[in-house]
């Protein structure tokens, strides 16, 4: 049964140096608060797995927490580059970053295979692409029934999954809705899992086909209101597109990035204080909007 913990305790308990960590959420429900807490606790040598690294991994990579990245699309959605990710790949700063690169479809079947306790996932994919030339973990196999050539990728089995959801009840049963990404797959594929939620309620309103992660498949549930910012939580707050644009400027230079992280993340006690500090700073900036 899931433990109801505060986020700092959950990260302390379930995320260890050297772990393979998959923090998922496809544009929606990105576990940003948990990413900050991993930064604050200075985890090292992580293998980070995520389809779309987004700001959350730009921060962890830029602060040197990652040894390796497994991913399928590494940009700032609708804005451009993830500058810290690029700096790590192009110039090895602040440390060299090993990459294992896939396509979205490849990662999706790799997570599903992990959840299903299969050694690999299979797809009609990667045909004609150079990705298999540079990623030896993408292979082609012959279908034993039809003889067709199909792509195969090894299952992803993280040490720990971290996702965000809208609600959990007091027993740790988690409910999420909207764009649900690969959250269910990644939790089921991982040895341990942490779910941050917008709120813990007495009773989650489920229907028979709702996406529910029963408390007994989750290690810890943490209430972190606004914990997906600047991503969004459908039914709670919208995506803060202006912050995604601003990130381009914050992360562009090494020094500016490091100072921003020190001031806004390392020097704040938790995500709520981070948000308050950001809103206070925004108050002096005429062009910024703060949602949620």
């Amino acid at each position: 049964m899931a433990l109801i913990l505060d986020l700092a305790a959950a990260i302390r308990e379930f995320v260890r140096d050297g772990d393979t960590v998959a923090m998922e959420g496809f544009t929606h429900l990105i576990p940003s608060a948990a990413g900050h807490e991993i930064l604050r606790q200075r985890r090292r040598d992580l293998t980070l797995v995520r389809m779309t690294p987004d700001l959350i991994y730009d921060q962890l990579i830029g602060m040197g927490c990652a040894r390796k990245l497994v991913f399928s699309w590494g940009g700032n959605p609708g804005v451009g580059s993830l500058h810290r990710l690029r700096d790590a790949i192009e110039r090895g700063w602040p440390r060299p970053l090993e990459i294992e690169e896939h396509s979205h479809a490849g990662m999706a079947v790799a997570y599903a295979a992990g959840a299903a306790n299969l050694p690999f996932g299979v797809l009609r994919g990667y045909l004609g692409s150079d990705l298999p030339k540079y990623n030896p973990r993408i292979k082609f196999i012959e279908c034993p029934f039809t003889g067709e050539r199909l792509a195969a990728v090894p299952a992803i089995r993280p040490d720990v999954a971290v996702v965000h959801a809208q609600q959990a009840d007091r027993k740790g049963n988690v409910l999420l809705w909207g764009i649900v990404g690969v959250q269910k797959e990644v939790v089921m594929a991982s040895r341990r899992s942490i779910v941050t939620v917008e709120e813990i309620v007495d009773h989650i309103e489920t229907r028979p086909n709702s996406v529910v992660l029963p408390g007994w498949v989750v290690s810890a549930v943490c209430e972190v209101a606004g914990g997906a910012f600047p991503s969004y939580a459908l039914g709670y707050y919208p995506r803060d597109n202006s912050f995604y644009r601003r990130w381009d400027e914050i992360a562009r230079e090494r020094q500016g990035f490091t100072e921003w992280i020190e001031r806004h993340v390392m020097a704040t006690a938790d995500f709520a204080e981070f948000r308050r500090r950001l809103v206070a700073a925004d108050g002096r900036r005429p062009h910024q909007t703060a949602n949620g």
Binding site: F26, T27, H28, M51, T52, F71, S72, W73, G74, G75, P77, G78, V79, S81, L85, R86, I89, E90, E101, H102, S103, H104, A105, G106, A108, V109, Y111, A112, L123, R124, G125, Y126, L127, G128, S129, D130, L131, Y134, E148, R149, G178, I179, V180, G181, V182, K184, E185, Y232, L234, P238, R239, N241, S242, Y244, T289
Partner: protein
């Protein structure tokens, strides 16, 4: 009546939108393709089904999404499914008529690079990577591609093939056994390129108004083939422009730009 004034990007978006037939099921990339697909839906193709890789099927956004998974897409969709399902059942299951893609670079056989400029292991410029494009390029029945034409983008040799077009041309794509037929057209800010039937080499088949053949050739990094019966793209109609500008203005307001 005076001709309406318009930009090269508006011409490109309108020309691309016209290629999407009503009722088509379209797997949409973010950015230029999303603008064109939604323009089509708001003009001649109200029954087009727009699928975004975030799992949103039948999305009808009133403003263009900044990301591939904006709340607007989920809230206006007929159905929202998981990422594993959208790629497996809907794309790989051959439910998609048209894949609509952008790219950083393209070659003469419409192969696309969105991964890297320079050497993969020590890149000059690291680009975002494949996302959904590699499998859209394999599995969609046909593919439409949009990108601005320049020598930096239209290159003789790609540093990295992220998503397959016609590979080395001729029947090299067919030999790999991909379910989809491959790119049908490349729509740029200068004109429209389509694959020559036997060789599959991209050929300039239509020029947008006011653009010369020389301009198109100068913006291409290989000796560009030009069709003997080169067409002239019809300029955007007043109605097409009005809908596109309205969409862009709503989008800018919603995303907190300028308004």
């Amino acid at each position: 009546m005076a001709e309406p004034q318009y930009s090269a990007d508006e011409m490109m978006t309108v020309a691309a939108a016209r290629m999407l037939r009503d009722g088509a099921v379209c797997f949409v990339g973010i950015g230029l393709p999303s603008a064109a697909a939604n323009l089509a839906r708001l003009t001649h193709a109200p029954e087009a089904v727009l699928i975004y890789e975030s799992g949103t099927i039948g999305a009808k956004p009133s403003v263009l999404p900044l990301s591939i998974g904006d709340g607007e897409l989920a809230e206006t969709a007929d159905s929202v499914v998981s990422i594993a399902e959208i790629f497996a059942y809907w794309l790989q299951g051959c439910r998609v008529d048209v894949g609509f893609l952008g790219a950083a670079q393209i070659d003469r056989f419409a192969n696309l690079n969105t991964t890297v400029v320079g050497d993969y292991r020590s890149p000059q410029v690291r680009l975002p990577g494949a996302g959904g494009a590699a499998e859209i390029a394999c599995n969609a029945r046909e593919v439409l591609i949009m990108l601005r034409q320049s020598k930096r983008a239209f290159v003789a040799k790609l540093d990295f093939v992220t998503s397959a077009g016609y590979l080395d041309g001729g029947d090299s794509r067919e030999k790999l056994g991909m379910p989809g037929r491959g790119p049908r057209a490349v729509i740029t800010d200068l004109g429209i390129l389509t694959p020559d039937p036997p060789t599959k080499e991209l050929t300039l088949t239509s020029l947008h108004p006011g653009v010369t053949t020389e301009q198109a050739i100068a913006a291409t990094g290989w000796p560009l083939k030009v069709a003997a019966n080169l067409a002239r793209t019809a300029p955007p109609s007043a109605a097409e422009l009005a809908v596109l500008r309205d969409l862009n203005q709503r989008t800018a307001r919603a995303h907190g730009e300028g308004a």
